[in-house]
């Protein structure tokens, strides 16, 4: 018997990353902009998405959404009312989405008739940060009801995101939300991050959000 050290140097998430890479390539081939929405539970991902899908449809754009949840298809039902294609991804208790789940659930969708693919991740500020879903843009949501120091408590996910959206701005005053502190904390863990403010209730900031998505699409997706 002989003992030896074998060098491996292999990424633990290589398998997921490779699936994500292929997925991204495929979606780019159709000119689809893919947006991964991450946040804690109850910070308004579904509400933001609901309004976003409706507004994009009104503009004649072609959005679609995949919605991750531990159980139930309540969110998918809510979102389907906007008239866009929506599919639920039930993770059966798993705390995050993985690239293979996205590939599986895209299934029979005609990617040529999708311009914006939204992925609503499982409400969780820890685990989803490690998993590339083949997205172009990772958007992290922070609602005014959560407190300004969330970014400091969960630096990984805020650092891994490209855009931060502060949601439920209509409640900011009632919550005595310190916007300046929240933005300072976001930028402490991700200097230079683009920060938007929205209210899915009264529509404030939605135009800027949609313009931001259109800009990303222009910059990242050449096809169509």
């Amino acid at each position: 018997m002989e003992t030896r050290v074998l060098e491996i140097r292999k990424g633990i998430l290589n398998k997921n990353d490779e699936i994500a890479r292929r997925l991204r390539e495929r979606l780019h081939g159709f000119g689809v902009l893919t947006i991964n929405l991450v946040s804690s539970p109850g910070s308004g991902k579904t509400a933001l998405l609901q309004r976003t899908l409706r507004m994009l449809r009104e503009e004649g754009k072609l959005p679609a959404a995949l919605v991750g949840d531990l159980a139930t298809d309540n969110d998918a039902k809510r979102l389907a009312e906007a008239g866009a294609p929506v599919k639920q991804i039930n993770t059966d208790g798993r705390c995050h989405l993985e690239a293979q789940m996205i590939t599986d659930h895209l299934g029979d969708w005609d990617l040529a008739s999708i311009e914006y693919l939204f992925i609503e991740n499982v409400g969780n500020l820890v685990c989803p940060s490690s998993y590339d879903l083949g997205e172009d843009v990772r958007v992290v949501l922070l609602s005014v009801t959560e407190g300004e120091d969330k970014p400091l408590k969960y630096p990984n996910i805020f650092n891994s995101a490209d855009i931060a959206v502060i949601t439920k701005m209509d409640l900011a005053e009632a919550c005595e939300f310190d916007l300046e502190a929240a933005e300072r904390n976001i930028r402490a863990v991700r200097p230079g991050m683009k920060i938007l403010r929205t209210s899915s209730k009264n529509g404030a900031g939605m135009e800027v959000w949609l313009a931001c998505l259109a800009e990303e699409k222009l910059a990242r997706c050449v096809a169509v």
Partner: protein, 140 residues
């Protein structure tokens, strides 16, 4: 908590390399965890034992090397280690920097294996080990 699925991936990667090298047992697994990897060391260590059950890794030791976040400071013109991931500012000159150079690592560095005492494994082991790394390298 996704550390259990991370632990299973570690076991899968280690098992594959160990089998290719003709190992009879894996004694140690060395992993690197970046400060921004999103994986909690204690949780991974706990899950690792569970994931090893019934595999070549049963009874093996998980050796974790934690890597701090490192950013490039444009003002100092060098890489600096961040004392905390709650503040992406150069610890020397206090300039903010998001230019991350280290901190997302989440990989299996090496394994320590037991080999049967024959002469075969030396050449083929390395070759296979390297090939498997190259074949599956992602863009993480």
């Amino acid at each position: 908590m996704h550390e259990l699925s991370i632990a299973y991936s570690v076991v899968e990667i280690a098992t594959q390399s160990a089998k290719e090298a003709g190992a009879t047992r894996v004694k140690e697994v060395h992993v690197r965890l970046g400060a921004l990897s999103g994986v909690v060391r204690g949780a991974l260590e706990f899950c690792f034992e569970v994931a090893c059950a019934g595999t070549l890794l049963e009874g093996s030791k998980l050796v974790v090397r934690e890597l701090p976040a490192v950013v490039y400071c444009a003002k100092c013109e060098r890489e600096v280690t961040l004392p905390s991931v709650q503040n992406f500012c150069c610890p020397v000159c206090d300039t903010p920097s998001g230019d991350l150079r280290q901190g997302r690592e989440l990989d299996v560095e090496a394994i320590e294996i037991d080999l049967p005492g024959d002469e075969r494994e030396d050449a083929s082991g390395d070759e296979h080990g390297n090939a498997s790394v190259g074949d599956t390298q992602g863009n993480s």
